[in-house]
């Protein structure tokens, strides 16, 4: 557990909680990234503007963080050896899975659990267990 980073985890988690509460309080919307994204493609919806702006905000947040880092620190956002086939399979499974299951780590894991939604509790337990099992099997 030498890679445990409690301070940055608590600071980041607090910001996620505040961002989620703000969106619900001001706009009455659930801050589930997969739902905000998939809503852009649903035919006949006219509420694309706030969705697009929120997603652009995510990118800006990432860039702000990057710009605050000292120049010698390089960002670890890549898997060790980018394997295109693995990334494509993973991305397709994530896209299909979260859209079918109507939520991801944020929508079910933060927003849904906060409301004690039974659907979100089931979804969160399932994707946590299968993700851990997948990591275990890949490591074999």
């Amino acid at each position: 557990m030498e890679n445990f980073t409690p301070i940055s985890a608590l600071a980041g988690g607090t910001m996620l909680g505040l961002a989620t509460a703000l969106l619900l309080w001001s706009n009455g919307r659930v801050a589930g990234i997969s739902g905000i994204f998939s809503g852009l493609f649903v035919h006949g919806r006219s509420d694309w503007a706030w969705r697009a702006v929120f997603l652009i905000g995510l990118v800006i947040g990432g860039l702000i963080h990057q710009s605050m880092l000292p120049p010698e620190v390089t960002l670890d956002i890549d898997v060790v050896k980018p394997d295109v086939a693995l990334l494509v399979v993973s991305g397709l499974l994530v896209g299909v899975g979260v859209t079918l299951g109507a939520g991801c780590t944020s929508g079910h894991g933060i927003c849904g659990l906060s409301r004690f939604s039974p659907r979100s509790i089931v979804a969160t337990i399932l994707f946590m267990i299968t993700a851990m099992l997948t990591v275990f099997i890949v490591a074999l």
Partner: protein, 150 residues
Amino acid sequence: MKIFTALFSGILFGLGLSVAQMTDPLKVLSFLDITGNWDPSLALVMASALLINIPASMYILRQSKPVYGHKFHIPVYKLIDLKLVAGSVLFGIGWGLSGYCPGPIVTNIGAGSETVFWMFGSYAVGTILVVKLTDLLPRWRLARSIEGTV
């Protein structure tokens, strides 16, 4: 005003994911690797987010409406169906393969790396496939129309 609050919330969310290092797939994978060199950091990320959001949601949802809107858009679909179960299992497998879930996929776009290019592209294709499939199936469309999407 709604647009500004959505933008500010998005920026804070992206910053939160970055500070928590959830944008680093290796950090995420080491959290999921419970039998290996386990890193519990992301459990703390979720716990602290919930610690704020549980009381906040309780308070906010007691109000009659949001500050800049006429109603709360909260999923009312209650059924624990095969779609929810299968979707969550598929998502878990995909997440475990790369360490990337939707928030970090979008947040990392600004870094413009090859990994993010492939992850975002395939994530978008997977999403659009299911949205279009849902349009074809009356029962799925009904579930979505009663705001079953989170």
